[in-house]
């Protein structure tokens, strides 16, 4: 830069208010290397052997393929979903049970959001979020016991593959560049899982991988999920085996595009007035906020994984099932009846819910991001939405990149483009309802401001 150019540059800076005063402020932080998708990770409740799958899930003396008992639609194979959807076990109308649940979640220090009795939340106006009918036809089928797949299956309903009696197979689907088919030994559970992945686009014919869910009957650990020949989880809790499989889809989906696109651990929802990118670390409330915004009318673009072509600001749809943590699921009590599967036994405590159960027809295509919101739950805070400097938004975006070992320069440039394309806000909240309203108001205001 020659002297004249330097001085012109500095005069423009001076006109913009730049002054020399005090000491320079430089904040530094190390970027995490993301190799994991999911909030939270599946940790306990089972083992994660990596050796031979058949040997891993049981006694080494087990035969390499199952007997007719294996994977049969046994009486308790549906233990988890049956517990969740049974009217007799539905405790949503029992304040004692709800109170106990609140107490438990509070003790864990997780996200009670509104706090107090959920009936109060309804009285305060959260009813638009927590009420409504969400039962879907596909989920209804789970109550009928051994289910018939609600979608055509490739292959045969009863077939022997790899020496195991698989009674349910799905069509091939894609999570970004990862294509897979799912199979299960228990057709009822197979249909249930299919509801959770139904929103992923179908792909013709060939899939890269098999995701398999096996019920080993009387042998322990009874349930195992696999990605091809690798055991994802062998456990006595079927819900955890399913959760491990769903998490594997996310991980493989990210792995299929990292490096080629900007991939964020985030969520995205859209409305006619604009599209919101929700950022924040695990536990910040992204999924709960996404569910609440979708319930209140926003379209669902993605949760957990938001991907952009380099240099673009339009997120690509990733219509995974919503995984609600135990600490926030009481905000959506009707979803008990739409429950795909619950991971009550493990640390995850997740409800996996098809997005159509949150709001029918909520799935949306991507649209350019018009607002960036960094979330932070703070039980003691007054709920506020404050403007955030672009540099801090960029830092937040970059900190939430799935970057493999290291964020590459192209991804950083794409993150810069994204940060510069939309106003950013920091939403600190203790209460979901006013937080949703603030987002609604801000996006509507931004939409009006952008209207010629």
């Amino acid at each position: 830069m020659d002297r004249q150019t330097r001085r012109q540059f500095l005069r423009r800076a001076a006109a913009a208010g730049v002054v020399i005063g005090g000491l320079p402020a430089v904040r530094t932080f190390d970027l995490p290397a993301y190799g994991w998708v999911g909030s939270p990770p599946i940790r306990s409740g089972g083992t994660t052997p990596t050796n031979d799958p058949v040997q891993a899930v049981g006694d080494p003396s087990d035969p390499p393929f199952a007997s007719e008992q294996d994977g049969g639609a046994g009486s308790s194979a549906l233990a988890v979903p049956t517990r969740a959807v049974s009217p007799a076990s539905d405790s949503s109308t029992d304040p004692r049970v709800l109170g106990a649940e609140l107490g438990r979640t509070g003790a864990q220090g997780s996200l009670p959001f509104t706090g107090g009795d959920p009936r109060r939340a309804v009285a305060l106006g959260i009813g638009g979020i927590v009420t409504g009918t969400a039962m879907t036809r596909g989920l209804q089928s789970h109550r009928r016991g051994p289910a018939v797949a609600s979608e055509p299956r490739l292959g045969h309903p009863v077939d022997r593959i790899d020496g195991v009696l698989w009674r349910y197979e799905t069509v091939a689907r894609a999570a970004f560049g990862f294509t897979y088919r799912f199979r299960a030994t228990d057709p009822a559970v197979g249909a249930l899982v299919e509801d959770l992945v139904r929103a992923f686009p179908r792909v013709p014919e060939h899939a890269h991988s098999w995701l398999s869910l096996r019920d080993r009957g009387s042998r322990e650990p009874r349930f195992a999920s696999y990605l091809d020949d690798d055991v994802l989880l062998a456990t006595s809790d079927q819900s955890l085996a399913i959760a491990a499989m769903l998490s594997a889809i996310d991980r493989a989906g990210v792995a299929s595009i990292v490096g080629d696109r900007l991939v964020l651990h985030a969520a995205a929802v859209t409305a006619p007035s604009g599209t919101v990118l929700l950022l924040g670390p695990s536990g910040a409330g992204k999924t709960t906020m996404t569910a609440a915004l979708v319930r209140s009318g926003f379209g669902y673009i993605a949760d957990e994984i938001v991907a952009f072509d380099h240099g673009e600001t339009t997120p690509q749809p990733y219509h995974k099932a919503i995984s609600l943590k135990g600490s926030s699921r009481w905000l959506f009590p009707d979803l008990r009846n739409a429950l795909g599967t619950a991971s009550d036994a493990g640390s995850g405590q997740l409800w996996h819910v098809p997005i159509d159960a949150i709001r029918s027809g909520a799935r949306s295509e991507g649209a350019p991001i018009t607002m960036i919101v960094e979330l932070r739950y703070d039980a003691a805070a007054v709920t506020t939405l404050e403007p955030m400097a672009g540099r801090d938004a960029l830092a937040s975006i970059v900190a939430n990149c799935f970057s493999g070992d290291r964020l590459d320069g192209e991804s950083f440039s794409s993150a810069s483009t994204l940060a510069g394309a939309a106003p950013a806000y920091r939403l600190v909240f203790s209460d979901l309802v006013p937080a949703c309203r603030l987002v609604h108001d801000a996006i509507a205001s931004a939409g009006r401001a952008g209207t010629p």
Binding site: L31, R391, L394
Partner: protein, 101 residues
């Protein structure tokens, strides 16, 4: 008699700058680190081009931002110290590397 020096700051090779509404973000790809600069630091960073000396930068700041020289020099030295510690900028004494003659 003091030795005359010509200190020239140069950004490290793997560092990228993103200018935003206010301030800037430096990304040190080789170390996986992010550095958020305030607005003034972001402006001064852009003068670290591997050619302009510290004296020239200070002189420009004094003339254009109406800063007193000792404050401008103090600021630039402090910024170079911080960023040097973070290994995102290198300062070369060009007087000592100039070929003889």
């Amino acid at each position: 008699m003091s030795e005359r020096r010509a200190l020239v700051p140069t950004p490290a090779g793997d560092v990228r700058l993103a200018r935003l509404d206010i301030g800037a973000v430096l990304y040190d790809e080789s170390r996986g680190r992010l550095h958020i600069l305030d607005e003034t630091a972001a402006v001064v960073w852009q003068l670290f081009d591997g050619k302009t000396t510290v004296d020239e930068i200070v002189s420009d700041l004094v003339d254009t931002l109406r800063a007193e020289e000792h404050w401008a020099r103090h600021y630039v030295d402090a910024l170079l110290g911080q960023l040097g510690d973070l290994e995102v900028v290198e300062v070369t004494d060009m007087a000592s590397v100039r070929p003889p003659g």
